[in-house]
């Protein structure tokens, strides 16, 4: 098999995930896009491992071992990420990352958006 097929598919999937991370509003959809990017990296690792395990002499099968590690870390990441999103949704009533602007800097911090979240935060911390 030509090596270009899996590598190009991996690049396209990575950029799809990149678009999702940048364009989505719901935090859970952003997490889904992060999963897409991690899967693209996994496909790259597997393709290069299969190529090098035949082309080179001894490669320790590092690509497939790293793929397993990436899958495990992605599972841990999605668990922690969802717990954080649920905690934010509980405290704020939203999982819309455009509205979570407490630590934002610049002129937007004095905009009309800043009053309500500050009050919510004060209420949530009492």
């Amino acid at each position: 098999m030509h090596l270009v097929y899996p590598v190009v598919l991996s690049a396209l999937l990575f950029c799809t995930g990149l678009y999702g991370v940048l364009a989505r509003r719901n935090a859970i959809l952003v997490l889904m896009s992060v999963e897409l990017m991690l899967n693209a990296v996994n496909l790259n690792l597997v393709a290069f491992d299969v190529w090098l395990s035949k082309a080179a002499a001894e490669t320790l099968h590092s690509g497939q071992a790293l793929t397993l590690f990436t899958i495990a870390i992605a599972a841990a990441e999605i668990g922690i990420g969802l717990a954080i999103v649920l905690a934010v949704h509980r405290n704020r009533g939203t999982s819309d990352i455009d509205r979570l602007r407490d630590t934002a800097e610049g002129p937007e911090s004095d905009g009309p958006d800043s009053g309500a979240p500050a009050a919510e935060k004060a209420e949530a911390t009492t």
Binding site: M1, H2, L3, V4, Y5, V7, V8, L9, A11, L12, F14, C15, T16, L18, Y19, L22, A23, R24, R25, I28, L29, S33, E35, N42, L43, V46, A47, D49, V50, W51, K54, L60, H61, S62, Q64, A65, T67, L68, F69, I71, A72, A74, A75, A76, E77, I78, G79, I80, L82, I84, V85, L86, A87, R90, R92, G93, D98, E123, A124, T126
Partner: protein, 203 residues
Amino acid sequence: MSLAAPTHGFLSPTGVEIAFLLVGLVTFGAALVSVTTRQLVHAALWLVVTLGGLAVEYLLLTAEFIAWVQVLIYVGSVVVLLLFGLMLTKAPIGRSPDADSGNRWAALTVAVAAAAALVWVVVDAFRATWIDLDGAAAGSTKVTGESLFQHWVLPFEALSVLLLAALVGAIVLSRKAKADAAGPEVPGARDGQAAAERAEGAR
């Protein structure tokens, strides 16, 4: 440089390449729908198609253990977790008009530019490289297990510690969820916390 070996050719793809291309098209299309659809639950379901397609690609690359791990962990548990998260955050079932933020055109520009650059670079770098899929499978369970437990034992054990830390962290983050569960809305948060404190006192 091009057409390095006489057995390989761009114009005579093998059956594995055709299958890889078709499954890859399905995978990429499902990924595109998953990041652009306005129905949040449908996004998670299209993600299942994407991850399943990737598992088939792993099988075509003879990495069978990775393929089944992908099916078990991603399709089996990660998507279920994502669906649980969508339902616990009261995601709307129908079309939600504000699924995409205002900077989607900037995001589209960045993604298309990154895709063009990456595809150009990797095609230019690997256009004369072929994977040899004949012979023994490169990723059978025996091979993967031997390399994992001979050369990668220490990272493997470190990973178990990481998973334990993630487990404890998720439990800690979710215990606060239980304390505040009486007041799901923001105005009722103080009552919920007071109720939780009463519950703690009673205990």
